[in-house]
Every structure is written in structure tokens, then in C-alpha cells.
Amino acid sequence: MEPVIRLEGLTKYYRKNLGVDGLDLEVYPGEVFGYLGPNGAGKTTTIRLLLDLIRPTSGRALVLGQDPRSGGPAVRRQIGYLAGDPALYRKMTGRQLLVHLGHRRGLDGPGSAEALADRFELDLDRPIGDLSRGNRQKVAVVQAFMHSPRLLVLDEPTSGLDPLMQREFYRLVAEAKAEGRTVFLSSHVLGEVERIADRVGIVREGRLVVVEGLEALKAKALRRLEIHFAGPVPAGEFAALPGVQDVVVEDGLLTATTVGSIDALVKAAARHEVVNVVSHEADLEDLFLRYYEGAGDAA
């Protein structure tokens, strides 16, 4: 299958600092690819390279089979792009902006923009400058999807959206996938990527650390778990459980780190009277450390 996105040693140095270094990646049709990394890791740089807004120092990218630069407008017509910090014409109303952008993409009217705006409860008649951050983000989401592009390139798409609208956005991504379109989205939130991506690439300091299917990623996911018991429990019962580390018991409070499934720990805990369970998702940094150290101490 011809990949929709193909990166071959893609490298971008800025005048002073590193953008991205030697990225190799293939994203296939109909796939939702999560591009995960902390801020400043090179996610936006990668995305801007795909759209020919910046040019690589070395290596190359192929988008829909073409080099972004030589492919030019014809390639970009088939892409929906949502910028990380979308700048919109503040004096236009949402409708004016969508009509303006629609014309450029060969739509003769608002296209599916009206329907999309309804789904996001977006008022298209107000000037964009008067909208809240969340509503501006909705305009940016709608313009990315309005022309039913073959490839969606979304940079931190849910930032600023409230949870209800985030869910609507996830549905939109799922529909795009069902229609065979490809989604490349960046995020610094593991939970978000877990929720909608088929495969995940983790980028750190300009390098792709790992590319994995979601199942494999979940199997290595770290959680900090706190279990509050009604009375004291023996630490020994928990320390030897598979996939459970760093067990500390103080009176009735147990804290531990789990790798992958939390099933064993929860079942062991169930033998005692449990008052409360608190689960913290490991932050990205912990996850990266794990990949850097290798899978050696994972299980």
C-alpha cells in the first residue's frame, strides 16, 4: 500500500536550534496516526515541513506521493490543516472566513462547513476576533474538515476545546477514518492519542523515539496507583505481583507503579476492604525514560 506520508531521514535545523533530526516514518491510508511528544519536541516542525511552509535541511518528505514543494497547491488541496496556534482573520465572521477558504479549495459555497459548525454549536455570524479561544479553535477545526480532504494534518487539535467538544472532535476523526481518510495528529497528551490513534509515534528532542501500535503502547503504559484500605495491609502480598513496581505501604495507603494492565494489583487489593482507588497516568517524561532505558525492566 502506497503510504500517504513518507518521511526519509527528514531533518530540519534552524539557525540556532534543532528542529527535527532524521525522521523515518510511513503513515498509511485510512490510518489515524498519533504524533506524541512534549512541547518543543519537533511536532510542529514536522507538520510545517509536510505543508511546505518550511523546507528540510536534508532528507525528504513525501505527502500523497509527492514532494510538498514540487507538488505545491495541487497536493495541499487534498490536505486539511489545523495549526497548533491557529491565526484566523479576526475581522471576518466565521462564515466569511470559511467561504473565503472554501473558494481557495474549490468549494463553491460553505460546503459541509454549516453542518460542521452546527455540530460544534458554533455561531458563524460573529467576527472571529469576538470569539472565545475555544470557539476560535472550533472555526479552525471546521475549516480543516470542510472540504473532506484525503489527509488531515492536525497540530494539537483539541487544545482549547471543552470536554464535550473534544468528544465531538473524536467522533469527527472516527468518521474521517471510516471514510478511508488519513489523519496525522499531534498531541502532548497520551490519553488523547490512546483514545483515537491506531498507531503512535513518540518524538523527543527532534527524534522519533518509537513508533508502535496502540496495543503495544498500552502494554507498556505506566500508571501511578494509590489504593486506600480500611486497615493496614501487608506489603509482601503486592510487591511480587507481575507488572507492579515501587510498592510502598504506609498503614492503609498503598502506592505503586504498574506497567501495562492494572488487573493483578486490583485483584490482589480486592482481598482487603478498599476505601478508594486513585489512578494517575504517567506523564510523558516517564514514558520516554522507559523507552530510553529500553524495555529491560518493563515486566
Partner: protein, 268 residues
Amino acid sequence: MLRSVFGAAIWSRRRALAWWVGGSFVYLLFLGSAFPTFSDNAARFQEVFESYPEALRAMFNMVEGISLGTGPGFLHMELFSLVLPLLLMIFAVGFGARAVAGEEEEGTLDLMLAGPLSRRRWLGEQFAAMATLTSLIGLVNYLAILVAGAAFGMGLDPGYLAAATLGAVLIALVFGSLALGVGAATGRRGMAIAAASAAALAAYLVFSLADIVTWLGTFQKASPWYYYAAAAPLLNGIEWAHAGVLAAVVVALPVLGGMALERRDLAV
């Protein structure tokens, strides 16, 4: 209006445009109302002017045989020597600096160029919009001067006036194009405005002082202002060669800027 980059560039300036049009009319009628005072006292003004040192006369763009008492002479010195080209230039430079660099700094250029639009096309349509609106303001000024001329008996030749106004539009566009080109090459709006303003000031000074400062004389023809003012089209009609030089510069600068824009990274 929002069907093209050209249309949107004009649409977004519709309010500013209304002010330029209204302001031009008011200013020119006001200026015209001063003309009778000058023509009634022509002989005395002439004396005063002739007593000025040569340097000062050069700054007023005085040419041989000109009289403040005639309509064309009055307008040549009071309006076309500096004020009209300067006003048009302020508009054109502001437009040119915003067209690429300003939109880039705002982030809206990203939005547009991430879509199916080439950088060259963006620049081309912005240039066309800048030229169209600057010409439109020039046309409005032309009409306002004709009205003022008729109202205050200036005895203007519409053809000569058209030639002079065209020249003012072209010299304004030279620096508008410079701002557009510098903005396209650097992505920095402040730099585009600074470069265009400095170049305009230098061009004006070199032309004006070249008659007095000997060493500047050799550079006079390098100043775009020479091709605007030297032939005094309001008094003598159009000098096609000079208008052609200006037009060529107007077109060449955005082309050079576009070549740089094609190659560089857009700022975030």
C-alpha cells in the same frame, strides 16, 4: 469580495479606503480654496520665492519660469512636489509591508499558504490589489483636483493633470513595491516599512539637492524621484520614458522579493 486573495486584500481595507477617499477630497478642496489668495498676490509671492536661497527653492521643486499665480504652478509646488506623492506612498508602503510580512507576523499567511495557494500567486494578487487601490486613490485625487480646479479657476489641463497624478501613483508604488519585496524576502513588517521609508527619503533628498550639491549631481538619475519630478508633467505633459522607468521598477521589486519568498521558510 472573498472569492480571491485580491478581493480579500481589498475587502479588508475597505474602511481605511473610505477614509483615504473622503480625506483626499476634503484636503484638496481646502487646498484649492487657498489658490485665489496666491493668484491675487502672485507678484509678491514670486518676489519672496526668488529671494530664497537656491537650496530652499530646490526643496520646493521649483522649475524655471514657474509661477505660484497660475493653477498648474501652484499645484506643482504646493501639492505634487511632496504632499501628494507622500500621501500615496504612505498608503502603498503600509499595504506592501502588510501584504506578506504583516500577514506572516499575524500568522494568517500560514493559514492561506497551507491551503492550495502558491506563494507566487499570493504575492501577485497582493501586488495587484496594492496597485489597484493606490491607483484608485490617485484617481479620486485627480477628480478632486479637477473639481477644486474648476471651482477656484485654476485653468488646469486635464491631460497634464492626469500625467502628473499617474507619476505620483507610480512613485508611490515604487516604494510600496519595495516594502512588498523587502517584506516578502525577510518576513518582517517593521523592516519593510523602515527600508521603504529610508529609501523614499534618500530618493527625495538626492533629487532635490543634486542641483546644489555637486557630488550628488552624478547620482541624480539613480534616484527614482528624478523620474517622477524632473520632467514636471503638470507643466509639460507626460514624459513616457520616465513613467516607463518607474513602472519597470514597480514590477521588478516584487519579482525579486518573490524569488526570495519562494526559497525561504515561513516564520511561525
